[in-house]
Symmetry: C2
Subunit: 315 residues, 2 copies
Amino acid sequence: MYAIGIDIGGMSLKGGIVSKQGEIIRKVTVKTVTGSRSRLMNSLFELTSDLLNNSPISRDQLKSVGVGVPGTVEPYEGHLIYSNNIKVSHVDIGAGISQRFAVGCAVENDANCAALGEMVFGCAKSMKNIVFITLGTGVGTGIVVNRKIHSGAGGAGGEGGHMVIKKGGLKCTCGRKGCWEAYASATALIRETTKAIKKYPDSLMSQIAKDEGKVSGRTAFRAAEKCDAQAINVVDQYIEDVACGITNLVNIFRPDAVIIGGGISNEGDFFINEIIKHVNRDSYGSTRNPATKIVRAELKNDAGILGAAALCLGN
Amino acid sequence: MYAIGIDIGGMSLKGGIVSKQGEIIRKVTVKTVTGSRSRLMNSLFELTSDLLNNSPISRDQLKSVGVGVPGTVEPYEGHLIYSNNIKVSHVDIGAGISQRFAVGCAVENDANCAALGEMVFGCAKSMKNIVFITLGTGVGTGIVVNRKIHSGAGGAGGEGGHMVIKKGGLKCTCGRKGCWEAYASATALIRETTKAIKKYPDSLMSQIAKDEGKVSGRTAFRAAEKCDAQAINVVDQYIEDVACGITNLVNIFRPDAVIIGGGISNEGDFFINEIIKHVNRDSYGSTRNPATKIVRAELKNDAGILGAAALCLGN
């Protein structure tokens, strides 16, 4: 049994034929066409058709097509409601692909796909309830309850990045003040690193940013590893803010695991271990209650394709 | 079909025989004995036995017994892990009742029971996903996903009161700083009212508190109705803080409804309408996404009995 997984990103459309065991037996990437419903559908058709026509497996081995989208989705309708990243609204992706290729098609938000991908193919195979968070340009959350994605009414759940942790704090892109995303995203870390470099031009962070040609989410972590005091401050504050939101989610849900993905998760063991320390200290009744595991996402580069295919191959 | 619902409160044990339609056909209340496992079990036995022996229905019409507990529960084991209110830990309530009366017994946290009660007998009959919050001595949350209580690992989920909304803010009983409970509980409202009375002794709040013999969760609301400026400040700030946490939960979950119970919910339409205004304004993508309903709990005095019985009569 196989499925096609398609990951619609802001830059590229990635598609793959994925086996029940999570092997990708063929992969195709094309450029994402933004801002137009019909051109988006055409590139999806092109990608799917390419995968099908040049496939090493026969058509009857192919179960269905799963599509992950960076936006709000009505999953039962296969309908993309709105995506800020690819600048389209109200696209009937599911019906379009189903009719064109006479195959089932499931559509979901990409953070939800990533969560399900970890459950079906990644680090959460034996778990029931997880919260997946991505620390990237923004902060996304995907919730899986009883091994099923919790999409929320109208597919609009899973916006945990827009949970206020510092009421009256920094203005967020969503309009509220003090959202977790305004402190825990890679964007926030870059902002704080840039501020610290301006204030302390002698900090090792300046040198690293100069060498790399830009300030990135890694700059402060690299300088902190070399014991730069200002970088340690930036990193400590960032970790505290990330952990604050994770502890909130643990108290609300007590999932089996919180799985951390996105660019910042590549900071590795030091980062994850510090988060675990904070969450174990601060979560409700932590001495009595079973600790929620805090782990790094296992699926890396192909997480988008695998997560979308998991919509069809899960459970 | 009938079930017995038992609500273990800090002061009294209430039990009732409840029909599938949510009628309570017999009700018994006894005093809660705190601090002892065996005495708690004995009073539960006494209550159950009284209900069974003097029951207007025959034994074979009785499906099972549901018990709601103010504490952490391992629901699959029917095991009360810990309750601060009744000062006991590790009580096998489910096994005890099952063996004594040869009947099934389900045990759950009381906020979770209240949530399920609204779904089975109250205002959420046609809904799939709800978040129930109680604004009382503390702030409790109960989550229902796909019409099933989400207990979380080890039954320790649903502690949304301990979500930080003002990082570094007021110290909470749980050890964190800035928890929602420290701002949105009746206790918090009483604290702020008391502060305002001290600072503005001429406020109408002083007079009302004097007349009633104490400051309560109603004091500021009563004075605000009469246009007392300081009371309006207290109430506005309280509503803003309650709404902040509710908006967080809406963004994370996007449930069909947030149902508000507990003492403060009796403030009625003015209170609920103000909350709705804030949440609709602040929730993520509120212009595009279907609004989560914000409603007052429908079940009142017997909510505890009905919620516990819903464990047996639901779905």
